[in-house]
Amino acid sequence: MSGHAHLDNKLPHQPELATLEGRNKVLGFWLFLGGESVLFGTLFATFLALRDQIADGKPGTELFQLSTVALATFLLLTSSLTSVFATQALHRHNVKSMVNWLIVTVVLGLGFLGLEIYEFFEYVHEGHKFSTSAFSSSFYTLVGFHGAHVAFGVVWITILIAQIFKKGLTVVTAPKIYVAGIYWHFIDVVWVFIFTVVYLMGKVG
């Protein structure tokens, strides 16, 4: 692969699509997200089927603290915006700006994760454990799957930042950054649904 020979200023406008490998990666990742949509769709369907089955546990109306969740939502939505800035910087070949925006994205993602972990601890404390009811199991599985995706994304983007420092922006690294960006958006979109279906609808009862 002659990717390393490219200098930043010789990169094409969309470096992620410059090679066949890059085009394959981007298309493959879009398809992968199609599969992920089915995965979350099934989890949502399961949650919707079981959300009223609270057995001896508390219902969502008593449990959910919308203020924490709203803050988490704010962090994640903002991180989606910053990841757009990173991708735009990628297209401008502005490595420094791209890395900075990626770091902001990771920090916001970490903030979201911290809030989610805090929230889960609170719920468990109130007796809303994983094995309490069908509602609790499906709640933790759906929201937890999303949380795991965020955690994976945070680690992934961190590794990519390190790679950018070492290898620079090339036709090999560009598709990785781009793909991580669409992954991050996807996670965000899923969260919008979680916020609506789990929390808002759950708070209404």
Partner: protein, 627 residues
């Protein structure tokens, strides 16, 4: 740079290969092995049912046998053999040098393999799963299935399922992005189309079962309540999730067979496929409708009349595109010059057999009548007609057809015909009578039956047929063994009537497939050139260095990691004689080690770039491999 390539040899070559042709052979070997295991299970089942009240195996063992037979055959035998043909042929058919993601391709194979090994190890550690391949709750819950059997099922299939999903994405991207210049979508060979649609079905169906299996695992290992009725769970929910995957799965299996049959019939009758565009359209429609009919597996579950009526109608609709395909095949044969050989015999045997499986499908679609057929031997007969009479006959046809392209040797024709006749007759003996057993009141999945119910003779016939199918399979194995000792002397186009790009290159294909990527000038590209009097395909590029991906052991190691993690989770709550082993398992240390290996592999793959290596034009001349 190009000449300093690290090459592995022997076993290490196979463990590290990312070459789609070698991965295809690996899929064939592993799938074949599991096919034999599943076949032995089938024979044991038929021995037990040969006569009423036999005591050949116990009731518990029988339930393990039926569960493992179904699971093994579907997930570990026929799907991998489909993947074997996909890998071996698709890049050649579209004029590509490899698949889009060679590394993921290897990873997909190894996860499937280790998932399958894990599942089958249940026979020796802790008991095999016994709740049926459908694993309905609550029977599959801890309360009613208290061995580790169902854990082996859920974790083994999750690991194997990752491989399938990766394969699906890989082939979608390969087919979309890597077709040779000139090969538009409507010039793709029918097998490529079929694999394209199957891959799309895999992409949208497998995540559903992954979620289902995760939920099942959570219920069994971590005390979740998805299907635990006492805490608000819902047992019928499992049926929905399972069949939302399960029905598309049936089409994932049969659609590649449609593709194979289309190629074989067209080649051996020396005619282009009749109604190519309506074939494509029909296959897409079948794939699409496949997602809207899952509840026909649940007509008796009590979904209510509106759902039953709608799902009845949706299911019947599938008969229309399927019928289009059947008649298109018949009219491809019409006016042709049909050569009879093993491959075409299997393809011709497929047509009436599959039609019979299809019409019983329409019968089953009628919900009120399904109240009688459901879970009886009628259903057993129906799906074996579709899966064995459809898919397995198709696979045999495809294997005989493409064997020279995979291995450079033609299979023995006499033994091949013997395989066909024993297998074909054995198949119909086994399963035709089962329609009547079901209609006469015999439920499926029974480990025995009482005498005087009118079941005795038909069951005996069915068992004899199963033995005959076993004989057919043994003859096939014999054929492979004998052929393997012959010299590799197959021509580029050993059938003489090849129509597609795979027949333009040597058998077996060289490592880089095409020295020059060909230019495609129509449907049945090679045939078109032959008719125009050209011996070779026109090239779309000058001869130059060919970039190749590097071999890697990481896919193997990542899969081993998942395998270890699977055991770690499964036995985390068990008691062990050795306190050290107990400590390792009970604190999830084994599970964590496994996951670390897998994620470590991912990390290495991401951080250390694979620059690949090049085959230089001089090397191509040296080996004398010219396109």
């Amino acid at each position: 740079m190009a000449h300093s390539v690290k090459r592995y040899h022997g076993l290490m070559d196979w463990l590290t290969t990312v070459d789609h042709k070698k991965i295809g052979i690996l899929y064939l070997l592993a799938g074949g092995l599991f096919f034999l295991i599943g076949g032995i299970e089938a024979i044991l089942i038929r021995i037990q049912l040969m006569q009423p009240k036999l005591d050949f195996v116990s009731a518990e063992t029988f339930n393990e046998l039926i569960t493992m037979h179904g699971t093994t055959m579907i997930f570990l035998a026929v799907m991998p053999i489909i993947f074997a043909l996909m890998n071996a042929i698709i890049p050649l058919q579209i004029g590509a040098r490899d698949v889009a993601f060679p590394f993921l391709n290897a990873l997909g194979f190894w996860t499937f393999f280790f998932g399958g090994v894990l599942l089958n190890l249940s026979w020796v550690i802790g008991g095999a799963p016994d709740a049926g391949w459908t694993s309905y709750m609550p029977l599959a819950s801890n309360t009613y299935s208290n061995t580790h059997g169902v854990d082996f099922y859920s974790i083994g299939l999750q690991i194997a399922g990752i491989g399938t999903l990766l394969g699906g994405i890989n082939f979608l991207v390969t087919i979309i992005n890597m077709r040779a210049p000139g090969m538009s979508f409507m010039r793709m060979p029918m097998f490529t189309w079929a694999v394209f649609i199957t891959s799309a079905l895999i992409l949208f169906a497998f995540p559903a079962i992954t979620v289902g299996l995760v939920l099942l695992t959570f219920d069994r290992l971590f005390g979740a309540n998805f299907f635990e009725v006492a805490n608000g769970g819902n047992a019928v929910l499992w049926e929905h999730i399972f069949w939302i995957f399960g029905h598309p799965e049936v089409y994932i299996l049969i659609v590649p067979a449609f593709g194979i049959i289309s190629e074989v019939i067209s080649t051996f009758s020396r005619k282009r496929l009749f109604g190519y565009s309506s074939m494509v359209f029909a296959t897409i429609l079948i794939g699409f409708l496949g997602f809207m009919v899952w509840a026909h597996h649940m007509f008796t579950a009590g979904l209510g009349p509106v759902a039953n009526a709608l799902f009845s109608i949706a299911t019947m609709l599938i008969a229309v595109p399927t019928g289009i395909k059947i008649f298109n095949w018949l009219f491809t044969l019409w006016g042709g010059q049909l050569t009879f050989n093993t491959s075409s015999l299997f393809a011709i045997g497929f047509i009436p057999t599959f039609v019979m499986g299809g019409v019983t499908g329409v019968m089953l679609a009628s919900a009120p009548a399904d109240f009688q057929y459901h879970d009886s031997y009628f259903v057993v007969a129906h799906f074996h007609y579709v899966i064995v009479g459809g898919l397995v006959l198709g696979l045999f046809s495809g294997l005989h057809y493409w064997w020279p392209k995979m291995f450079g040797r033609l299979l023995n024709e006499t033994l091949g015909r013997l395989t066909f006749w024993t297998f074909f007759i054995g198949f119909h003996l086994t399963f035709f009578v089962q329609h009547f057993l079901g209609l006469m009141g015999m439920p499926r999945r029974v480990f025995t039956y009482l005498p005087n119910q009118g079941f005795d003779t038909l069951n005996l016939i069915s068992s004899i047929g199963a033995f005959l199918m076993g004989v057919g399979t043994i003859i096939f194995l014999l054929n492979i063994t004998i052929t393997a000792r012959k010299p590799k002397d197959a021509a580029n186009d050993p059938w003489g009537d090849g129509r597609t790009l795979e027949w333009t290159i040597p058998s077996p294909a060289p490592e880089h497939n095409f020295t020059q990527i060909p230019l495609v000038r129509g449907l049945d590209a090679y045939w078109k050139e032959k008719v125009a009097g050209n011996k070779e395909m026109p090239a779309s590029e000058p001869i130059g260095p060919i970039h190749m991906p590097s071999a890697s052991i990481i896919p193997f190691l990542m899969s081993v990691g998942l395998f270890i993690a699977g055991f770690g989770f499964m036995f985390a709550k068990d008691e062990f004689a050795s306190s050290f082993v107990g400590m390792l398992f009970n604190n999830y240390i084994v599970a964590i080690i496994g996951l670390l290996i897998t994620f470590g592999g991912m990390f290495c793959r991401s951080v250390f770039d694979d620059h690949g290596w090049h085959i230089e034009p001089e090397d191509l001349e040296d080996k004398g491999v010219k396109a």
